[in-house]
Amino acid sequence: MHHRYDVLVVGAGGAGLMAALYAAKGGASVACISKLYPTRSHTGAAQGGIGAALGNVAEDHWEWHMFDTVKGGDYLTDQDAAEVFSKDIIDAVYELEHMGLPFSRTPDGKIAQRKFGGHTRDFGKAAVERSCYAKDRTGHMILQTLYQQNVKAGTMFFNEYHVTDLLIENGRCRGLVAYDLASGELHTFHAKAVILAAGGYGRVFKITSNALTLTGDLMSIYYRKGLPLEDMEFYQFHPTGLAKLGILVTEGIRGEGGILRNSSGERFMERYAPTIKDLAPRDIVARSMTTEIREGRGVGIDKDAIHIDLTHLPREVIEGKLAEITDLARTYLGQDPVKDLVMVQPTAHYAMGGIPTDLNGLCLTDGMGGSVEGLYAAGEQACVSLHGANRLGTNSLGDLVVFGRRAGMAAAAYARQVEFPDMPLDPERESREMFDALRASKGTDNAAAIRKELQESMMNNVGIFRNGPDMQKQVGIIQELKARYQNVGVSDPSRRYNSELIEAMELGFLLDCAEAMASSAVNRTESRGAHDREDYPERDDTNWLKHTMAYRDLNNPGNVIIGYKDVSLKGFTRSFEPKPRVY
């Protein structure tokens, strides 16, 4: 089957839906292709809020937000991106409100805001109320609202279509190939511009807040073409996942006054971040918790968790503003935040790295400004580099709407100027070969077993605390697993709804992401943001104030070529000198 649209959007999470909306507003014919029904996208799981300096509760300015973002990213954040972001997000939040998003309200009827980790007033003086929220289901409301607006705009959706290949020839993107789960057929989509917004890849880790479907598909597809992935070593562990399960407990819980306590009941964050304590950025809190656990002050049977204490908060706050996580803790742990301490553990959460883009979402091919014409990316899967080495809470939802919108507008503008490019002769060839190989393999290895080994070893070797030998070992493990992957057999021959085939394909994507990640991480011999090495505990601005670009070596499979890209240390009007990062 062959389809033709001016602009194609891959993924129907917050970024994809925003991009689709704006591409349509730009006059383009738009189709959105998603492997899930749009409202099933993982943006719906985001809880805490979306940060914007509205100043509805306390004085706030975009410069403060920009500073926090840069400092939060341990100065690896591109400051031009941070400036665009901190300004644009204010309008974007108002726009979401005009789209009907049911925000929580202040007593005078404005959008309610609360404190969040790393967001401060006056360049680091004290925590500030910046996160705009809708109870603790902000992502759910954003996803629903954006989907609703797309229904209104009449966006064409191809649901449960898995994108399997991008058609890039001579530096120009020409469309893509997708597998229709319902029929088991491949479809070719011909387009002037393509926007990628397929989300993260948290499923490389064992304990994660990410959905089973977040397998880094499009990052891997990009990478397989010999194109780079940026800053893959920076992966955020969120301090508070429900113990064992990894299900997220929003940072908003600490924004509302929740306190982390170790086995002796001590508020240990006072030792690690004396100024903002429990509201320090995520990398710092996650490390502090892990240190407590390692030093034997953890709680639970295995002493591998930490308590979060809400019991001093009024019931109305817990059951009202934090209804969602109250329900989660009650359902899955049988612990009631109103009267019990809840057991939490750091959980793999967010990819700072991904497909490198410029400020308009245009995908980059190297660190020197080369790009793929007509190919854009936004959302978690892209790396504009707004988040640098560590993302601040609430900045991802902001990223989706700000850069999703910019990518949508840029793609539509591009599509207005150009004709449809020629298509390759047999566009479906690579996808077909991939599926044929998976189907034909008479191998005996089990995809689930390989995935499990990958997730466990990644957790142990490229987790919160890292060191050279372990990561080196992990690079080897990934190569082994990739070899075994060749032997994965798909035993279900059905054409329709063959989820076994899809899962096997997704495992292949995960292995690629893991490869880029582990290799980038071994390479960076410093500690910065979420990348914390025990063998190189210091930040090293002289050598490492630069982005990593990881390329697959197409001639030498298994080898990863590392390149670099400069950090833009200048915003358009404001800039912040790298300083030691203390809170």
Binding site: Y37, Y94, L212, T213, D492, S499
Partner: protein, 260 residues
């Protein structure tokens, strides 16, 4: 096709203690209604013997079966914690999300858990049904905010009390647990169903929305609120604990007072 033949085991109501970490495993039988249109004429039951922790989610158990026992087993799932709405199914006779139901909620050691696809929508394969009719009903109620008057530079104001009116209905994740538990929907697919009405409620009771009149007219049709016979299955089934029947009754009254 992948007819993995699985031995139905006799229930053994004993607890096995796993060696490490003090994890408690129980033996269970999971009875699943299977149907693959490419080979089966009719749906049939298959039983799988599994070991699970009482605190495991049903979706964990299903994944375990799919990954290690019968790879052909087909169902939707994604987030694993009740937010994406993918995995509504009929578990032990009631609609639930497989990821929000724990083993210990539905079975004791040695017990049996039955899993069927949700009713009233066409089964495409195993536990996966055609969701299009469900989303068509959703689209029929104009599920988007309408306010044509020029927007202010900042936000439109809304009181906390007005925001609270939408608190329940805006919580819906479109999982279809409700609609497919409604005895009217089972027999009468033209009924928009509780999920669509909940969505309509979200906009009707939004103080900023300007299309209340048109929305109430949609609700006032033969396929709208009047088909609800207050059977409460929807309310019992909703994983988001939305008091659905209450909301439907509010919409009925709103239609009545609007016409009065």
């Amino acid at each position: 096709m992948t007819q993995t033949q699985v031995e139905p085991t006799t229930p053994t109501p004993e607890l096995t203690q796993a060696p490490a970490g003090g994890v408690q495993l129980v033996k269970l039988n999971v009875k699943i209604l299977r149907f693959n249109p490419e080979v089966d004429k009719k749906a049939h039951w298959e039983t799988y013997a599994v070991q699970a922790q009482p605190t495991d989610r049903i979706v964990d158990v299903l994944n375990e079966i799919k990954w290690y026992q019968d790879t052909g087993l087909t169902f939707r799932r994604s987030c694993q914690h009740g937010i994406c709405g993918s995995d509504a199914m009929l578990i032990n006779g009631r609609n639930r999300l497989a990821c929000k139901t724990l083993v210990r909620d539905v079975a004791k050691a040695g017990g049996t858990i039955t899993v069927e696809p949700i009713r009233g929508l066409k089964v495409e394969r195993d536990l996966l049904v055609d969701m299009e009719p469900f989303f068509d009903s959703y689209k029929a109620i104009m599920p988007y905010f309408i306010n044509e008057s020029p927007a202010p530079a900042a936000e439109r104001y809304q009181s906390e009390a007005d925001a609270e009116l939408m608190a329940h209905s805006s919580n819906c994740i479109l999982c279809a647990c409700c609609t497919t538990s409604c005895p009217i929907f089972w027999v009468n697919g033209s009924y928009l169903g509780p999920a669509a009405i909940v969505q309509a409620h979200r906009f009707i009771f939004d103080s900023r929305d300007e299309a209340t009149q048109q929305r109430l007219n949609i609700m006032n049709q033969n396929t709208g609120v009047w088909r609800c016979r207050t059977a409460y299955n929807c309310t019992e089934a909703c994983p988001r604990e939305i008091p659905i029947t209450d909301l439907i009754e509010q919409v009925k009254r709103a239609v009545m007072f609007q016409q009065a």
